[in-house]
Every structure is written in C-alpha cells, then in structure tokens.
C-alpha cells in the first residue's frame, strides 16, 4: 500500500518527463523576415483568440499551399520532427496550460512583436522561444490590472496557488517579500480569516481545504498561541477524553498523531508519562 501511494504520486511526474519533442519546426525568420509574411496569414483569427481553446495555428493544408512539392513523396519530416508521431502546434498549445488571451492583449497593442520579438531569430532548428518573463513584466509591472489568472476568484485562491506552484510563476511580478508586505500592511483587517475565526479554526486546521502552512508554522503559531495562552484544544475538555479504559483520546492519537506531537513529546511530557511509562 505504501509503495502504491508513492507510485501514484509519481505518475504525473513520469508523464511530464516522458513527453517527447514531437512538434513542428517552423523557421519564423525565413517566413517573417525574408518572405515578409504577416502574422495573421498563418495565425488567422488570433486577434479574437480569447484563450487556449482557440485554434490559432495553421492546418497542414494551409502549409501545403506553398509546400506541396516538399511533401508529395510522403516525407513528413520536412515539417514534423518525429514522423512516427505526427503532432500539430495546436496540441502543444492546448496542453501547455497557459490561460492567455490574445484578444485582450492585442486590443491594447496591435504589435505582435511586443511579446514575440524572439521569433525573428527562429531558424526552425528548435521550438521558437516565443516569449520571455520580461515580456510580461514590461507591461504588468506598471499596470493596475493583473494578468488574466488574477480574476474574480483570485483573492480567495491565490494562497493555495502560491502553495502549489514552483516559485517561477509568481516571480514573474512578485518577490518572496510580496506576501508579507501585503498581509502585514493589512494590520487588524480580517481579510484572510473571519472576525470570529477563533472558534472555527480548529476544523480548518484539521481538515480544511486551505493549507494552513501556506502562511503558518506549527511551532510559531499553533504551539506558541496555545501554550502562552494556556488553552487546550476543545476536545481535551470532554469528560471521557481520558478515562480508566483509556478514553477517546486514543482514537485521536491514532489518526491525528501529528497534531498531538505539536505540543506533546512522549519522552518529555510529564503529564503523559503518568499513564504512559513506556515500559
């Protein structure tokens, strides 16, 4: 069972590293610089593309209008890197997870090269490096509006996003200092937890959807508050928490041992050793 869990957890990782480079190699330099083609000739409809589901890449028939001679003998490798696993640009784009709206960005600037300046150096030997982090920062660092991911739900969800992403995502615009600069400056405004959170926090700590450790440290926050204020968890007050037969604390200790260990260390806790002598 233990090994099964590890295998399950590693499956997505294997999927990630198992992906081959099976896309299409396309020399933008030749088409844009030398042939002076416009972006919309190949990427028709890009100005209205509102997300990754929009089809903004050319179909093979479109390429064949000029390159019919190159493929008439059935040689797919003129465009496709892996002839045994033919893939299109579109699949790559849809699976990338980017939630980028060309429509919204192009309404502000009609210059594609603002973000895609690198494609003029793309000779087709590699995937074109179509944008860099600094391209996003150039505008978003100065704008009041954040990127499209910072939508209506962002205020509620950004904590768990921070907690589940590698640092590169947020580091587009934010530093490690941004978290506490914003939250500390809120002062006594209960933006994160409700004004009556003191009663509700125990369930959240045990089983909440949000991860407390996004912001909190067990020793720094849980232990410090409970010990300095001499407050035991609510369930410790139950009349049968400890009884002659053991009491209900046994069940909690079996399933929530990590919570017990926040305050209780078996070898040091004198109160526990009255019953649990370790022999």
């Amino acid at each position: 069972m233990w090994h099964f869990k590890i295998i399950i957890l590693f499956i997505p990782f294997l999927l990630l590293i198992g992906q081959e480079n099976n896309g299409i190699l396309f020399p933008h330099q030749l088409h844009v610089e030398d042939m002076e083609m416009t972006c919309e000739e190949c990427h028709a409809g890009v100005a209205n593309a509102d997300g990754p589901s929009w089809d903004i890449f050319p179909k093979m028939d479109f390429c064949a209008e000029c390159h019919e001679d190159n493929t008439e003998d059935g040689d797919c490798s003129f465009c496709h890197v892996n002839s045994d696993n033919l893939q299109s640009y579109n699949k790559f784009w849809k699976s990338s997870g980017l939630d980028f709206s060309h429509k919204k960005h192009l309404s502000g600037t009609d210059d594609c090269l603002k973000c895609h300046s690198y494609i003029s150096d793309d000779d087709g030997t590699n995937y074109p490096n179509v944008w860099a982090l600094s391209d996003c920062q150039d505008c978003h660092a100065e704008m009041d509006n954040g990127p499209i991911s910072h939508d209506l739900a962002w205020k509620q969800l950004h904590g768990s996003e921070v907690n589940s992403n590698t640092s590169g995502n947020c580091a587009l615009c934010h530093t490690n200092n941004s978290c506490e600069e914003c939250h500390q400056l809120q002062q006594f405004t209960p933006n994160v937890h409700s004004v009556d959170y003191i009663l509700a926090h125990s369930f959240d700590a045990k089983v909440g959807v949000a991860e407390c450790s996004t912001c909190h440290d067990i020793i720094e926050d849980c232990y410090t508050c409970h010990v300095t204020n001499q407050i035991m968890p609510m369930n410790h007050n139950f009349h049968n928490w400890v009884s002659a037969e053991g009491g209900i604390h046994i069940g909690y200790a079996e399933s929530e041992a990590e919570l017990c260990a926040t305050c209780h260390i078996p070898t040091e806790d004198f109160l526990c050793l009255r019953c649990h002598r370790g022999d």
């Binding site: 590169g168 200092n177 959170y197 450790s213 440290d217």
Partner: protein
C-alpha cells in the same frame, strides 16, 4: 510540554532605530531612484488578549521600503515597531531586509530573506544566489541562519539553514527539485523536495513532495488535479502532511500512519461580478472528518456558510460581509460571523459571535485613515469589544 523556544530579549533603543531609518532614507535620496515607501500605523484598544497583561493597548507601525540604485542594485525591507505581544516580544522587528544585486541574468540577495514555497516557509539571515539560464533553468542557493520566530534576538540563532533548488519551466508546466537542511548544532535534518505542474488532456496537475532524508520517509505530499469547464473549475486534491510517526508512549518501534485528506472543490464565475465557491474536504481514518465551505461573492457583498462533522461533533457557521465606497472619499464596510460547536452529549453547545465594522477616509490617493471596531462574544477574550485606528501612507 515542549521547552520554550524563546530566548532572552534584546530590546533595541528607539532612538537607534530612528537614526538608522533616517540614515537609510537620506542615503536613498542621494543615491537612489524609484523609491517606494509604504507606511502604516495602527492602534487597537483594548488589545486582543486571553490573559491579564500590563499593556492594554496594542499598537504597531510598519514601514515598507523598496528602492532601486541604478539598474543592478535594489533594497527591499519591511520594518515594524510595535507593542510587545504574545507573538513578538521585541518591539523592533525586521521582517525582511535584503540587498538585491543583479549580475547579468543572475541575482544575489543578502540580508534577512523571506522564503515561501509549497514545501517550506522560512525567514533566514543569510544569502541567496539565483542563477538563471535559458536552457538549464534556475538554480537557487540559500544559506544562513534561521531568524528567531519572535524576533527576540534579531541577529543570531544557532539554527542553520541551507537550501539548493533547481527549477525549470514556464507557467503551468514546470518542475522544481529542492534539497534543504535545517536544524541546530545538535541535530541537522536534511530534506529533499519535488514540485511540478503540468497539464494532460486539459487537466492541470500540481504536485509537491517532501522526503525526510534523515528518517528515510516521505514527510509531505500534495497533489491537485483541476480542470476548467468554461467559467467553472473543478478540482480534486490529496494531501498528507506527514506519512507516519513513531507510535507514542507505548512502543517506539512501531510506526502509525497519518491520515490523509482529500478535497473536492468547484469554483464558478457566474458573471463578471459574481463568484460561487464550494469546497468539500474529508480526512480519512477512524475518526473521519468532513468540512464543507460554500461562499458567494457578489460585487462587494459576501456570504459564506460552513459545516464540519467529526463523529458526534459538529461545527456550523455563517459569515456575511459587505463594503461600499461613496463618491466622496468615504468608504465603509463590515462583516458578521456566527459559529457554533456542537459536541453532542459530551458538552454543551458552544456558540460565538463576531462583528467587524470600519469607516475609511481617503482624501488623497496616497493616504487613508480607517476607524474600526470589533466585537467578539465568546469564551476566549477577556473583553468583548475593541476599536482602533489605522493610517496608511504610500509614497
């Protein structure tokens, strides 16, 4: 109980601190550019406290300072001076203070560093070097001493900290490997971590794992799958904080498994100004626990209901909130929360009420003054009502 981790307090002289700040600001004016300063000061009376204390007023002032010196050097800091409380025993607190130097695409940061990522949070006095390459990704090296949690001594601890992490990828598709060591002179704990985000068949996959090298076991694991259907996002998560612990008290040769938590959430953007969130989580194990939170945001109105079930114990609550900005520089808002814990036959129903209201005045864009009041009817605080003032200034 654990021994206290508090250390003897080294209080700082206020005049020394003011002198330090004056020097910093003057140096900034002479050599710096792109200066950003936020100042926030507040007072709360009577303070939030569960015990009798000498001080009955809680006050604090925060200064956030961010400045560039040319194109390569930047300084970023967050200072606080405030009353002593249960959490922070030193009135002067340096949350972070870093000098950031750009070396081509790389960055060197020296000072008190804040470290936040999926696997660890730390405040470290030391240095961080980020080596960025286009093809090989980013290598980040951090070394130093962990800052004390209560700022009782702002200079030194004996808790060493080292982290090396490598990451590569772009938004939505990235991979990070980490190795870090934390501990003191008596005990060093090494860990290894793995994080990645990717998408397959339109499903976004996020994962974070931490491995305790010293005890050769998985220490933390989290995976989340989510898929977007138009304006609706459905997510499924699995989280296990620690995989096992030595069985306490009876037989230290046995391990007991820690129960994992699974979550299901649906977030729906119903219109440009309406958001509905539903989150259900369940902790597996003999004492299975369920926790449900549903909330609705509409413009500046907010409503949330929650329910928790744990055997015969139940928790339920409701939160209502609103804020409004007038055409004048006045804005106001507030929230009310009602919660109850029902322990069945074990104990009497415990209920509590909380209310919060504020009125803000913002005569200019860079300054805001806020008066607020809080009321809490519960068995924890010695005083139910309290009020205060907050002044925010952004330069």
């Amino acid at each position: 109980m654990k021994k206290s981790h508090f250390k003897p307090i080294r209080k700082h002289n206020l005049s020394t601190i003011l002198l330090l700040l004056i020097i910093i600001i003057n140096v900034s004016n002479i050599f710096g550019s792109k200066l950003k300063i936020n100042f926030s000061s507040s007072a709360l009376y009577p303070r939030l406290s569960m015990m009798d204390t000498d001080e009955n007023m809680h006050w604090r002032s925060l200064l956030s300072y961010d400045q560039k010196f040319g194109s390569r050097l930047g300084v970023d800091a967050l200072f606080e001076y405030g009353s002593e409380n249960d959490h922070f025993r030193n009135p002067f607190r340096v949350h972070h203070l870093t000098a950031d130097v750009k070396l081509w695409n790389h960055q060197l940061s020296i000072g008190r560093l804040a470290i936040w990522n999926a696997l660890q949070n730390a405040r470290v006095d030391g240095a961080r070097l980020n080596i960025n390459t286009k093809k090989l990704g980013t290598l980040s090296l951090v070394g130093g001493l962990k800052a004390v949690t209560d700022f009782s001594d702002t200079l030194f601890t004996d808790n060493t900290y080292f982290m090396a992490s490598w990451s590569k990828g772009r938004i939505g598709k990235n991979l990070a490997l980490s190795f870090w060591i934390k501990g003191d002179v008596d005990e060093i704990n090494p860990y290894a971590g793995l994080q990645f985000n990717t998408s397959k068949f339109g499903v976004r996959i996020s994962n974070a794992l931490a491995f305790d090298i010293g005890e050769t076991k998985l220490n933390y694991a989290k995976i989340r799958l989510s898929k977007r259907f138009g304006d609706h996002t459905v997510g499924f998560g699995y989280r296990q904080k620690r995989f096992d612990l030595w069985k306490q008290f009876e037989d230290f040769t046995d391990l007991i498994g820690i129960s994992p938590t699974i979550t299901l959430d649906v977030n729906s953007i119903l219109s440009d100004n309406m958001l509905l969130r539903n989150q259900l989580s369940y902790r597996l194990g003999e004492n299975g626990k369920t926790f449900l939170v549903s909330s609705l945001n509409y413009n500046k109105l907010y409503a949330s209901v929650l329910g928790g079930f744990e055997g015969e114990n139940m928790e339920y609550g409701i939160i209502l909130g609103a804020s409004h900005k007038l055409k004048s520089p006045i804005s106001f808002g507030g929230s009310v929360a009602l919660n109850a814990l029902d322990h069945g036959d074990f104990a009497e129903l415990e209920s509590s009420t909380g209310a919060y209201g504020w009125i803000g005045w913002q005569p200019k864009e860079f300054i805001m003054l806020k008066l607020f009041g809080r009321f809490s009817n519960n068995s924890y605080f010695k005083q139910d009502g309290r009020g205060g003032i907050i002044i925010n200034v952004a330069f």
